[in-house]
C-alpha cells in the first residue's frame, strides 16, 4: 500500500470565457474547462480517478467521463446546497486524496445560467423535498420564490439591529466593480460604478437588495484539479497547498438562512465555527490570510460572512468596509477578480480559481506578497497556501 499523503494540493485550474450566452451545451462547457485544467496541470484525462461537484447544475460524472475519457472513477461526490457548497468540494477532494482513495480529483461547475434559464428569477414550481431542504415548500405561497427574496428577510433584520443601510451594502458592489474594472476576464471589465449608480438601480427586494446588490447570471465553466504532493512534483505548475478545508451544516440550517432555528438570524454560527476549525487545521485564521475570496451572491451576505469569519465584530462590517480593508491595497482584499458581482457567477468556482491564481502570483489584479488565501462560501471554507509553514 502506498504512503498516505499528508496534504492535498491544487495542481491545475481551467476556465472558459464568462458570457451571457455561451452558444454551446453545459456538458460541453464542463468538458472544455476540465480539459483546460488538466492541461494546466499536465495530467492526462485518463488519470482522473475522482470527481466532486455540487447540486443545481446539469453535467455529471457520467457525462464528463464520457467526453473526457476518464479511465475509471473511484470517488464520486455531489454535494447538496448548490453554490453554498462550492468551497466544501475541497473538503471532499481532500478526503479522497488523504484516504488514498483517489490520486487525481476534478472539481467543476459549468452552467448556462443566463442563456438557458434565469437562475435568479422567482420559481413558479415548488420543489418538494428538493435536495433535502424543505424551506422552499414553506416560502413559495408567500411570494418568497427567489434567492434574493430569501436573503432579503435576513438582511432586513440585520439593517434593523445594526443600523446598516442599503447604501452601506452598496459599498461592497462599488469595491468589487472597481476590482473587475481592471480584470480583462471580468464581464464588467472597464465598467466601474459609483455609489450613486448603486442607489439609482431598481429595487429587487426592498429594503435591502437593489439590482446592483446582486451577483450576475453568467454562462461559463470552471474546473480545479486536486492531487497528491508526490504526484505534483512532476507536474507543470508549482502546487498550491490545501492547508485546511471544512464542510459544515448546523442543526436546522437551510439554504441561505437559519430562518427557523437561530434566535438571532444575523449571527451565523456556521461561519464562526468554520473559521475556528480552519485555524485548528491550518494554523491560519481567515483574517490572517492576504486575500479574502468570499461568496458574493448578494452584498448583505458579505456583511454577515465578514463578521462570522472573524474579520470584524458583529454589526461592524459597514465600518470595516469604509476603512478600506477590502481594497486591493487593504489588509484583506476582497475578491480581486471582481467576485460574482464583477467578474461572473460560476457558482463559487471562479472565486476559488482566483484564490489559486493569487497564491501562484498570476492574477490580473495580483495582491503583493500572498502566502495564503481564504476561500469562504455558505456551508464550507478553506485555507490555501504556497507552502506548509
Amino acid at each position: 500500500m502506498k504512503n498516505r499523503p499528508s496534504h492535498a494540493v491544487i495542481a491545475g485550474i481551467g476556465q472558459t470565457e464568462f458570457s451571457k450566452e455561451s452558444g454551446r451545451s453545459e456538458q460541453q462547457l464542463a468538458a472544455e474547462c476540465i480539459k483546460m485544467a488538466l492541461d494546466d496541470a499536465g495530467i492526462a484525462a485518463a488519470d482522473v480517478d475522482g470527481v466532486v461537484t455540487f447540486t443545481l447544475d446539469n453535467s455529471d460524472d457520467v457525462s464528463t467521463m464520457r467526453s473526457l475519457g476518464f479511465d475509471q472513477l473511484n470517488y464520486i461526490s455531489r454535494l447538496p446546497h448548490g453554490g453554498g457548497a462550492s468551497v466544501a468540494t475541497l473538503a471532499h477532494a481532500q478526503a479522497a486524496i488523504l484516504s488514498g482513495t483517489s490520486e487525481v480529483v476534478v472539481i467543476w461547475r459549468a452552467m448556462n445560467e443566463r442563456s438557458q434559464y434565469r437562475f435568479g428569477q422567482p420559481q413558479q414550481q415548488i420543489p418538494v423535498n428538493a435536495s433535502g431542504s424543505t424551506f422552499a415548500e414553506w416560502c413559495m405561497p408567500f411570494g418568497a420564490q427567489s434567492p434574493a427574496s430569501w436573503e432579503g428577510v435576513v438582511a432586513q433584520r440585520y439593517m434593523h439591529q445594526y443600523g446598516a443601510t442599503n447604501e452601506d451594502f452598496g459599498s461592497v458592489s462599488v469595491t468589487l466593480r472597481k476590482h473587475a474594472a481592471t480584470n480583462p476576464n471580468a464581464w464588467f471589465y472597464e465598467k466601474p460604478i459609483t455609489i450613486e449608480d448603486h442607489q439609482a438601480s431598481r429595487w429587487v427586494v426592498a429594503p435591502a437588495i437593489r439590482l446592483l446588490d446582486c451577483c450576475q447570471e453568467s454562462d461559463g465553466g470552471v474546473a480545479i484539479i486536486v492531487t497528491t504532493p508526490e504526484r505534483a512534483k512532476d507536474l507543470k505548475q508549482t502546487p498550491v497547498y490545501l492547508r485546511g478545508a471544512v464542510q459544515r451544516l448546523p442543526f436546522e440550517h437551510e439554504i441561505i438562512s437559519d430562518y427557523y432555528y437561530a434566535d438571532d438570524i444575523t449571527r451565523q454560527d456556521i461561519y464562526s465555527t468554520t473559521a475556528k476549525d480552519l485555524k485548528e487545521q491550518s494554523g491560519i485564521a481567515p483574517q490572517e490570510t492576504q486575500v479574502a475570496m468570499i461568496y458574493d451572491n448578494f452584498t448583505p451576505q458579505i456583511f454577515s460572512q465578514l463578521e462570522g469569519y472573524g474579520y470584524c465584530g458583529v454589526g461592524e462590517a459597514k465600518d470595516y468596509i469604509k476603512d478600506g480593508h477590502l481594497e486591493l491595497d487593504g489588509s484583506s482584499p476582497l475578491s480581486p477578480n471582481g467576485g460574482h458581482i464583477g467578474e461572473g457567477y460560476i457558482h463559487g468556482l471562479n472565486l476559488m480559481t482566483e484564490g489559486i491564481r493569487q497564491v501562484r502570483g498570476s492574477a490580473a489584479n495580483q495582491v503583493k506578497n500572498v502566502d495564503s488565501v481564504f476561500l469562504g462560501a455558505g456551508v464550507g471554507g478553506a485555507i490555501i497556501a504556497k507552502g506548509l509553514d
Partner: protein
C-alpha cells in the same frame, strides 16, 4: 391572481388541513412539550414519532420582512410583504404581512393571524394586531 397552492406532504398535511379550517396548528412533541416547525416525522429531542398538532393563539411579532419587487412574485398583483413571524408560543414561520403600508412597518410589531384562499387551499397570513385580521 391567487397565491400558489401550498405543497402537501405526508408530514405537513395537518398544517394545511388546519389552515383550511382557519386554524394555525404547529407540530408538538407532548412528551418534551416542545414545538417544531417545519414539521418532521420524529422529535429530534426524544426521538418519539408520536407528534401531534397544537393550535396556536395566532398572535406573534414581526421578526423581519422584505418586499420582492422585481421580478414580481408569482401569485400577487402587488408586491407582497414576506414576513418572518415569531409566534407568542415560540415558533418562527414564513408568512405575509398584509394591510400595512411598508413605510409604517416596524420590527417586532404585534401581529395576528388571518387566512387567505389559494386555488385549492388556504394559507395563514398576518396583519397588524389592532387591525382585525382581514386581508
Amino acid at each position: 391572481m391567487k397565491r400558489m397552492d401550498p405543497v402537501r406532504t405526508v408530514d405537513n398535511a395537518f398544517f394545511w388541513d388546519a389552515a383550511e379550517a382557519e386554524r394555525l396548528d404547529i407540530q408538538a412533541c407532548e412528551a418534551c412539550d416542545v414545538l417544531w416547525h417545519p414539521p418532521r416525522p420524529m422529535c429530534p429531542k426524544c426521538h418519539s414519532t408520536e407528534l401531534t398538532p397544537r393550535t396556536m393563539s395566532g398572535k406573534g411579532k414581526l421578526y423581519s420582512w422584505s418586499m420582492p419587487i422585481h421580478p414580481p412574485a408569482w401569485g400577487f398583483e402587488e408586491p407582497p410583504i414576506v414576513a418572518l413571524i415569531d409566534l407568542d408560543e415560540g415558533v418562527r414561520l414564513v408568512s405575509n404581512l398584509v394591510g400595512v403600508d411598508p413605510e409604517s412597518i416596524t420590527n417586532d410589531m404585534p401581529v395576528t393571524v388571518g387566512f387567505a384562499e389559494t386555488p385549492k387551499s388556504k394559507v395563514p397570513f398576518f396583519t397588524a394586531a389592532d387591525s382585525g385580521g382581514s386581508e
